[in-house]
């Protein structure tokens, strides 16, 4: 028997189960690809808005879509990951049905999504009105991504990604770019990095499992 799983949390069965589930969730790279595509879509929307005349009806519509899109993808992405796993990776990865999320947890998620939507809308409105050049916002976004990855990520690739994004945010802040351009590069870079990293992990994971199945058949 392989004992590597026991090195996690032998003393606490609940913590052990939680860690095993978390590791299983991240092993195929799909969550990273989903987050990467989400970030790229945000970068795309900001880039589109940059092309439009400020204060125009379409620009305002894009701002509204952007404000709504961020909370929407928070709900769509986990569902999309689950759908892809069930549709294309079931034979390789196996099947798992998680317990339904508690109502309190759903309420917290919805609350956070609502606050994010309001914050994005308020920020966009304030920025359009005062034309402030807030370079620290770009650095702050990069450092926030870095912090999230360093705190929540439980793999070396997340730590490396977090450091790279944090440094990229600080460097971008020094470039004195317009805020929107800075955000496009920041979100685009983070999204591209996450998508590429997730794809590499997915290919490696699929290759490993396919190889294992073939050697079992021999």
């Amino acid at each position: 028997m392989k004992n590597s799983s026991f090195n996690l949390h032998v003393n606490d069965p609940d913590a052990l189960a939680k860690q095993l589930i978390q590791r299983a969730h991240n092993r195929d790279g799909l969550p990273e690809i989903a987050v990467g595509l989400g970030l790229l879509s945000i970068a795309g929307l900001i880039a589109l808005q940059m092309q439009l005349e400020k204060g125009s009806a379409i620009s305002k519509a894009i701002s509204l879509i952007l404000a709504l899109w961020i909370p929407v993808i928070c709900f769509i992405l986990p569902w999309a990951v689950k759908w892809v796993r069930r549709k294309y990776l079931l034979a390789l990865e196996g099947f798992v049905e998680m317990k339904p999320a508690a109502r309190s947890r759903m309420a917290v998620t919805a609350g956070v999504a609502f606050v994010v939507a309001i914050a994005v809308a308020a920020f966009t409105a304030a920025h359009a009105r005062f034309h402030s050049s807030s370079q620290w916002m770009i650095a702050g976004t990069g450092l926030l991504f870095a912090l999230l990855l360093l705190v929540c990520g439980r793999a070396r690739r997340y730590t490396i990604g977090g450091i790279v994004i944090g440094v990229a945010g600080i460097l971008l802040a020094f470039c004195q770019l317009p805020l929107e351009a800075g955000f496009v590069i920041m979100y685009g870079f983070a999204g591209l990095m996450a998508t590429i990293s997730g794809t590499v992990v997915l290919l490696h994971f699929m290759g490993k499992l396919t190889g294992r199945d073939e050697s079992n058949e021999c």
Binding site: M1, K2, S4, S5, F6, V10, P13, D14, L16, A17, K18, L20, I21, R23, A24, R27, R86, L90, A91, L92, E93, G94, F95, V96, E97, M98, K99, P100, L209
Partner: protein
């Protein structure tokens, strides 16, 4: 004999085995999972996993159902009420004995 040690002597040996404890804990944290998921997640070999699941099924702690999702055959495992109670009792006993 110390009362705590006596408590430990009566511990549920079906759950106490590390691989089975891992399986039961994992199944307690999800609604249901299939054999392949358990195999990849616990890193137990298929043979070992099969034996441990059979023992848990014999004890009435795990229910195993063979089914299909589309064209894929799945061996779905879920913790029974009895298994949930046994795990809770095991954790209580261990906590009391080790405190």
């Amino acid at each position: 004999m110390n009362a705590k040690v006596q408590q430990l002597a009566g511990i549920d040996r079906v759950i106490h085995e590390p691989a089975r404890l891992m399986l039961v804990s994992l199944l307690a944290a999800v609604q249901e999972a299939d054999f392949q998921y358990l195999h990849l997640t616990t890193e137990l070999t298929k043979g070992n996993l099969s034996i441990h699941l059979s023992k848990l099924e014999e004890a009435g702690y795990v229910a195993i159902e063979k089914t299909f999702k589309g064209k894929y055959p799945l061996t779905i495992c879920r913790l029974t009420g009895q298994g949930r109670d046994a795990l809770a009792e095991y954790k209580r006993t261990m906590k009391a004995a080790l405190s």
